[in-house]
Structures are given as structure tokens and as C-alpha cells.
């Protein structure tokens, strides 16, 4: 009997995993939250998406066609994974957050976790004003809905992702006032220029970068380095931002403030992996908070594999390569199979590219641009002062050996998003990891749905 491989996530890693598992003769089931496959990278709507916003679209079309041979559950949220006595996945299918979605229980011989990552956006005074979004939101609204949130947007943060976001805003008719990159020009040249021969294989990346820079030039959009948006102004919505030079640790430099008028701000300071599924499956997580995998993309849990941004931020090409390896091995294939040569080579090449991304890593001085009353946890409106009061540095320090006491004392991470937005920032302020990424359920579900789940037999 063929092995049943269940893939969670239908972005580049998940689709490549499904394709490779099918190629090795497995029975494949793909679960994805989106209405259409593609993940964030290939987020689209057939009628609303400007095709100029897509990259490697033909690769996507080939992968999408492969799904005809798999069982695919779209608009499906996995909320629990069992690993004892076999692998079992519990999910709910139906329109997002609807009241009565259908419960699914699926047994698997192997599981591939390809849940990706989401933007990390650092708090800044004024970031709860309407008109402030993550860079990913600006990208998703442009790609999925064909719209720009504002007329004039400042795109700010760190990393090359800011560039496609700026280009997308221009494509859907928005003006980009400037792109503000925290990494200084010198550090950028040192980080990306070192051992450039390792990047030769990632030539596609270089030409993509060229397109984005040309787009900025065409629209006369300045690209600033070593600066940050340190304050967002407005009464009921965004009216302007303060842009300031920052030092190498991202501490604002006094006297360098400029005001830029705008009605929208897109913030992106890199990405944070969506670890919920991997943590619940018992997979070992590294100190840098990524899923630990071996050369077969196997996690520390028997039968569970991981691929793509959950294992390290390395972009779509790495995700495609890792997904192919994970799916092939999950289906019972071996690494020395000649079909694995291409993916293994691509994975090596793209990991060299990923090391360059570390140039843009968040530096600890960012906390200096917060006021005491700046909201850090958006769901519960918890301020920096409240979080620091309960940190080890604060006067009312609580036992933070588990996150429970800390959450109850401050309410940070207790709201609807369960710390997905603020978790890392809270940990930066407290000065150590708190385990805020451990969550009892993987996605939000209604209590009635939970109660009804018990009656559904495994598929």
C-alpha cells in the first residue's frame, strides 16, 4: 500500500513537497488555509491580480496542475496535530471564521509542515493608527484585492522584501514616498558583497533586484539606508512619519529627524516562522526559533518533515528545493535518488543566499524608539512600560519560567492573535525568550466547533 503523506500549507514548499511525494507514488493530501493554493508568494485572484506582480508564475502553474492528483482541502485550518500512536491532523474547513465549518480528521504515515512565515513588524509610536500595515499586508492587498491602502505610502523596515512591496504599490496606483532600510549602506555592501561567487547561482535573484531598483528609479522614489521610521503621526489616521538615522544597533540618532508626509505606512522588519504546527508536533526548535531539520528535512519527531520558511528564512527558491526533498523522503524516497540531485543543488545554492539575508537582522537598539506608553501588544493594548515593569529588569518582576505568569500579569499575548504579532517584540523587551509561541490550539476556532469535533470519524 502506498504511503499517505499529508502536507500542511500550499505555498512553494508545500506544493513542491506534494509534487515530489506524488512522484514517489505516495497518496497525498494537502491542507491549506487559503481559498486558492500558492501561499503568500503566489497569492492571487484570477481576475483581480496584476500578472506583473507575480514571479515564477509558470512554475506555479505546473505545481498547481499536479494537485489534480492529490486530495486538496482549501480554506482549511489545522487546529491540532496528534503524534502519539500515529500521526493525526484535526482541521476545520469552510469560509474563514464562519460559524459552522466542517470538521476533518486525517491520519497520515508522514507529515510535511510547510506553514511558512509572516512579517515581523516592530512597534513604533503611532503604529496602531489606521493606515499602518505590515509590508506583507500591503503586498497581499495589492496582489489579492488589486488595491493600495493609501495614496502615498512610506515603506520601512529591513530586508529586500521592502522592494517588491514598493513595486507592487506602484503597480496598483499608489505612490511610494520613500523606502527606508534600517541596514546602513556600508553594512549592506559588506554583507551582500562578501563571497559573491556563492551568489552566482542565484542570478535570478539579482535580476529581480534590478527590476525593483529600476521601478524605484522610474518613480523617483528615494531608497534610504541606515534610517528608520521612529514615530508615526496622526490624529485618527496616518498623516506623517518621522524618519531618523539610526546607529549600527538601530538606536535613533538625535538631531537627524525628518518629517515625511504620507497617509499610509508599510512596516516589515523581516519574517518570523509560523511554528504552531511544528511545536505541537513536538519538533525540536532551534535557539533562533526555527524548526530543526536534518539533510532529509526530517524533524526530531518520527514521520514529521518540515520545509520552507519554518526551517529558516531563505526565500521561495529554497522553499521549493526543501519542499521537494521533504516530500520525496516523506514518501519513502532516498536522497541518493537521481531525481533529488537538482533540489539538493538548489537548496545548497539558496542557503548561501539566505546567509546574506542575516545582514538585515533586527538589532537590539530598536527599543529606544518606543515611548513608555507605546502599545506593544496590539490586541490587549499593553504598553512598553507595563511589559518592562514585569520583566527581570522591572520593579514587579514575576516568575517568567513559564509564559503563563507573565501573560496573566501583563496580558501581553493573551488577546485574539495569541502573541503572533507582539511575541518576539515582548521577548526583546523582557530580555529573554518566554515561550510565547507555545499555543494550545493552532488556529482560532469557535467553542461550538470544538464541541462538535468529537463526532467526526478519521478519514
Amino acid at each position: 500500500m502506498s504511503r499517505r503523506v499529508v502536507v500542511i500549507g500550499a505555498g512553494p514548499a508545500g506544493l513542491a513537497a506534494a509534487q515530489a511525494a506524488l512522484a514517489h507514488g505516495a497518496e497525498v493530501c494537502v491542507l491549506d488555509e487559503g481559498e486558492r493554493p500558492g501561499g503568500q508568494f503566489w497569492r492571487h485572484h484570477d481576475a483581480l491580480t496584476d500578472p506583473r506582480l507575480q514571479h515564477q508564475w509558470s512554475r506555479f502553474e505546473r505545481l498547481r496542475a499536479v494537485l489534480e492528483r492529490a486530495r486538496v482541502h482549501r480554506s482549511t485550518s489545522v487546529w491540532r496535530i496528534e503524534t502519539e500512536g500515529g500521526l493525526r491532523v484535526h482541521a476545520l474547513a469552510g469560509p474563514a471564521d464562519a460559524a459552522a465549518r466542517t470538521a476533518l480528521t486525517i491520519d497520515a504515515d508522514a507529515l510535511v509542515i510547510a506553514t511558512g512565515a509572516h512579517d515581523r513588524a516592530l512597534p513604533v509610536p503611532g503604529w496602531t493608527l489606521p493606515g499602518v500595515t505590515t509590508a506583507g499586508a500591503a503586498q497581499a492587498l495589492a496582489k489579492r484585492d488589486g488595491i493600495a491602502l493609501g495614496r502615498r505610502t512610506v515603506v520601512a523596515g529591513a530586508g529586500p522584501f521592502l522592494l517588491p512591496v514598493a513595486a507592487s504599490l506602484a503597480h496598483v496606483g499608489g505612490e511610494v514616498a520613500e523606502v527606508v532600510e534600517a541596514c546602513a549602506a556600508g553594512a549592506l555592501a559588506r554583507g551582500w558583497g562578501r563571497a559573491p561567487w556563492q551568489l552566482a547561482g542565484a542570478a535570478g535573484k539579482a535580476s529581480e533586484l534590478g527590476e525593483y531598483l529600476a521601478s524605484l528609479a522610474r518613480h523617483r522614489t528615494p531608497y534610504r539606508f541606515g534610517q528608520a521610521v521612529t514615530r508615526i503621526h496622526g490624529d485618527r489616521a496616518v498623516e506623517a512619519v518621522t524618519v531618523q538615522r539610526i546607529d549600527r544597533d538601530w538606536r535613533p540618532i538625535q538631531g537627524t529627524e525628518r518629517t515625511v508626509e504620507c497617509d499610509a505606512v508599510a512596516l516589515g522588519h523581516g519574517f518570523t516562522p509560523r511554528l504552531e504546527a511544528a511545536i505541537q508536533a513536538g519538533c525540536a526548535i532551534s535557539a533562533a526559533r526555527f524548526v530543526t531539520v536534518d539533510e532529509r528535512q526530517a524533524t526530531s519527531t518520527d514521520g514529521v518533515f518540515a520545509a520552507g520558511e519554518v526551517t529558516g528564512i531563505a526565500g521561495a527558491d529554497a522553499a521549493l528545493a526543501e519542499g521537494a526533498v521533504a516530500g520525496f523522503v516523506a514518501a519513502g524516497g532516498a536522497l541518493d535518488d537521481e531525481r533529488m540531485r537538482g533540489p539538493l543543488r538548489a537548496r545548497r545554492r539558496m542557503h548561501a543566499f539566505a546567509e546574506r539575508l542575516a545582514t538585515h537582522e533586527i538589532r537590539p537598539g530598536w527599543t529606544a524608539w518606543l515611548d513608555d506608553d507605546t502599545i506593544v501588544c496590539r490586541c490587549e493594548s499593553v504598553t512598553r512600560a507595563r511589559i518592562e515593569a514585569f520583566s527581570e529588569r522591572g520593579v514587579a518582576a514575576v516568575d517568567t519560567s513559564s509564559s503563563r505568569g507573565f501573560r496573566l500579569a501583563t496580558r501581553a499575548g493573551l488577546g485574539a492573535c495569541q502573541g503572533r504579532t507582539c511575541g518576539r517584540s515582548v521577548e526583546d523587551l523582557v530580555g529573554r525568550p518566554l515561550g510565547l509561541d507555545r499555543r494550545p490550539v493552532l488556529s482560532s476556532l469557535r467553542i461550538g466547533e470544538l464541541a462538535a469535533c468529537e463526532t467526526s470519524p478519521p478519514m
Binding site: 488555509e33 481559498e35 503568500q40 485572484h45 484570477d46 481576475a47 483581480l48 491580480t49 500578472p51 469560509p95 474563514a96 471564521d97 464562519a98 460559524a99 509572516h118 512579517d119 513588524a121 496602531t128 493608527l129 489606521p130 493606515g131 499602518v132 500595515t133 505590515t134 506583507g136 499586508a137 500591503a138 503586498q139 497581499a140 492587498l141 489579492r144 484585492d145 488589486g146 488595491i147 491602502l149 493609501g150 485618527r236 489616521a237 509560523r274 502599545i375 496590539r378 490586541c379 493594548s381 488577546g415 485574539a416 492573535c417 503572533r420 504579532t421 482560532s444
Partner: protein
């Protein structure tokens, strides 16, 4: 990319809005000039993450609370109401 785009009509706090078939509720609201649709701690909030993670864009849809406007495709006749938290 050639599918014709029909209009979709929804109501937001009693106001009739028209968007493009296939847009999310957030997409329809923003295209109609609304950038916030919820109150939190006395201040206005709208879409933030845009990909279903942050829960800052929740609205009540046809009487069902806490629906992420950025994840739900608007359906003709949807009645959308603001939330406060």
C-alpha cells in the same frame, strides 16, 4: 486573467457599498474609502497584517462576530458591522 469582474454589494453599518467580485471584505471596505472598522482601547483600527495572523481587522458578518475581514471573501448581500473591544 480574462474573467469578467462583476460587482459585489455589501452593507457596512447600513451603508451600501459596492466592490469587485472576489475581493475580501477588507478589500471592498478599503476600496470604498474605509480604512478602519473597529475600536480598540478607544482608538480606530483596521487591517494590519493582511494575511490572517493579527486579528486586528475583525468585523461582524451577518451576525457572526470575529470574522477576519482580510480573509473572508465578500458575498453579495453580506451585512457587515463594526466591533469594539
Amino acid at each position: 486573467m480574462s474573467a469578467p469582474i462583476d460587482d459585489v454589494r455589501i452593507s457596512f453599518e447600513g451603508e451600501e457599498l459596492s466592490g469587485r467580485e472576489g475581493q475580501t471584505i477588507a478589500g471592498v471596505l478599503i476600496a470604498a474609502g474605509h480604512r478602519s472598522w473597529r475600536t480598540a482601547d478607544g482608538a480606530e483600527r483596521g487591517v494590519f497584517c493582511g494575511i490572517g495572523v493579527c486579528q486586528d481587522c475583525v468585523v461582524t458578518v451577518n451576525g457572526v462576530e470575529s470574522v477576519r475581514a482580510c480573509q473572508r471573501t465578500a458575498v453579495d448581500g453580506d451585512e457587515i458591522a463594526r466591533e469594539a473591544r
